[in-house]
């Protein structure tokens, strides 16, 4: 975070509208692809009939959920990368996704637990706890956060939580295939209910992140400077972690753990817009939404007539990108 990084902010004037445009195009792509090629986007505005039913009950909810997922995961990744000062941080890499999945799985398998706490609350709690453990493993509580250990520890926490998820599900029933479809991130069957359950969180998360943006900027200067400028880094860390956990937890509750969106989207935005979080927050939200809606379109079109879960589409792009980052990213060793 240097003056050079802030100087590139002038690009925001061009790129934000461009990202918005990309969002619109991908929304159109997501809405107009699907099993029935005779149904088009005009169905949204019809009153009754097959076209209207398909568009309003099936495709529109999917597109909206994809949009919300992109916002949630992109912002969660942005916050995590800022508060850990680690370019590889993201919900999936730090095990937060898998932690949320574990919370959700426990709630589904043990109805007693699900009755006490809302499923979404369990998912958020799992996300927060997993993040906390990864942070602790990396020495975050001792005051020196080791970036490589954060990533490796997060992967280990993720592997552990994932094994527990599989364990809970094998105990429940032998539904391996459905479980796999869910554990890779799937939004094939979402309806308006899911949209309602996630949209509020996305909007709230966006506002919360925007409020934190200035503090995230200060965080990048280093903890001593942040304190000197009147922003207690511990507060930023805690608030950021809570917001990220809520964003991730609600996303996982709706679609299962989708990896790599939280990693890739902030990177692209930083490349385009520099490192001022006041610009990055809206940019990440737009770019995340655009990516997820494009992925949704691709998931319907790539292997038609069978659908590829959207999480797999993202992983096919994101995993090679992560490999590239681990090979060439600087400042990790």
């Amino acid at each position: 975070m240097t003056s050079e990084g802030l100087a590139r902010n002038s690009g925001g004037g061009i790129f934000l509208p461009l990202l918005f445009l990309a969002c619109c195009v991908s929304a159109y792509a997501s809405l107009s692809t699907g099993g029935r090629s005779d149904v088009g986007i005009w169905g949204l505005f019809e009153d009754g009939g097959t076209g209207a039913a398909v568009m309003q009950d099936i495709r529109a909810p999917r597109t909206l959920v994809a949009l919300c997922l992109g916002v949630n995961l992109g912002l969660a990744g942005l916050i995590l990368q800022a508060i850990t000062r680690n370019a590889l941080a993201s919900p999936a890499i730090l095990g937060i996704n898998q932690g949320a999945a574990l919370g959700l799985a426990l709630g589904l398998v043990f109805p007693a637990l699900g009755a006490v706490l809302d499923l979404k609350a369990l998912s958020i709690a799992g996300a927060f706890l997993a993040g906390l453990i990864s942070f602790g493993i990396a020495g975050g509580f001792g005051g020196r956060l080791d970036s490589l250990r954060l990533v490796l520890g997060g992967v280990a926490v993720g592997a552990f939580a994932y094994a527990l998820v599989r364990f809970t599900f094998t105990l429940e029933d032998d539904v391996a295939r459905q479980v796999l479809r869910w554990t890779v991130g799937n939004i094939t069957d979402v309806r308006m209910n899911e949209v309602r359950s996630i949209a509020g969180w996305s909007a709230g998360g966006l506002i919360a992140t925007a409020l934190l943006a200035h503090r995230l900027n200060l965080m990048a200067l280093g903890e001593a400077q942040a304190t000197g400028l009147g922003a207690d880094p511990r507060f930023t860390l805690l608030a950021g972690a809570i917001v990220a956990a809520c964003l991730t937890g609600t996303a996982v509750a709706v679609a299962g753990p989708i990896a790599f969106t939280g990693l890739v989207v902030p990177h692209i935005c930083r490349l385009l817009l520099g490192s001022d979080h006041r610009l990055l927050v809206p940019a990440t939200a737009l770019a995340g939404a655009a990516l997820m809606m494009t992925a949704d379109a691709a998931s319907k079109w790539l292997t038609a007539p069978i659908e590829t879960p959207v999480g797999v589409v993202v992983a096919l792009i994101g995993a090679p990108y992560f490999l590239y980052q681990t090979l060439f990213a600087r400042g990790l060793d």
């Binding site: 250990r149 490796l152 592997a159 391996a176 590829t308 995993a319 681990t326």
Partner: protein, 329 residues
Amino acid sequence: MRQPVLFAFLVVGLTFSAIWSLSAGAVPISWQVIANTLFDLEGPKQEFIVLKSRLPRTFLAMLTGGSLALSGAIVQALLRNPLASPKIIGINSGAALGVCLMVLILPGISLAWLPVAAVVGGIVAALVIYLGADLRGASPVRLALVGIAVGFVFDAGVDFILVTSSDAQFSAPLIWLTGSLWARGWTHLNLVWPWLAALAVLAMLLSYWLDLIRLGETAATGLGLRVRVARLILLSIAVLLAALSVSVVGVLGFVGLMAPHIARTLVGGSHKVMMPCAMLVGMWLVVLADAAGRAIAPPVEVSAGVLTAMLGAPFFVYVMIRAGRAARV
């Protein structure tokens, strides 16, 4: 004096676990019946379950556990990286993708080709990591990270193939993928045991190379070892051991990481002693995981791979923190 006792203890423990593994499951079988069946004392009792189902499974668990442990020991020594293991550096996922691709492209192909596909996939993964590490001169922790990333890439491919194929024939590889010995029988055992046994013997015979390499490249060369050749041969053995295991039981994570560490704590770092010890520990781990998976909630089976991951992930963190401390001092 200590070592023979230790090895005897491991062998006895392994034997008892193997017997437990024969008795545990959807149909609990008492120890007397097992003994009667194995030694044919009083006619066929539970013959089918013991001889056709559980005995080959137990053997397969031993075989793959030992192979993964040896592979892990070699990889850790070659990369001088306590965090390395066939799973961490992506070989297992590569082998899994190899098998999935083969089943996808050539659905009618005979089972006998599974190991070949797995080996090809494992070699590709190893090459990526070898080149990546070589080019960048990476630190041990960085290397583990690159390996994990390579694993992610292959896993994404495996997921893609598994979830988009509508065929029922894929439900079997799906179980297979999670590192399970479910429905493995004599056919699978016969497919790989000669190869794995030969490779294990070879690994033991060449284990002194690992000791020489540990001294450093110059010293090893001075003692008459052609280091580059030795490294390549050893790495190939490690890849083959891991990939062949994956081709029959899927991705059993963290066995290759844990077993060598436990063995090193027990008998020290000399590979001539450590490798056999690691092999026994690896066998024991997988036999126990398989048996426990059947015993936890019969008739439902928990994959052995799930259990080893639950044990292995915390272990990985422990090794990482300890390695970090050692590096700082």
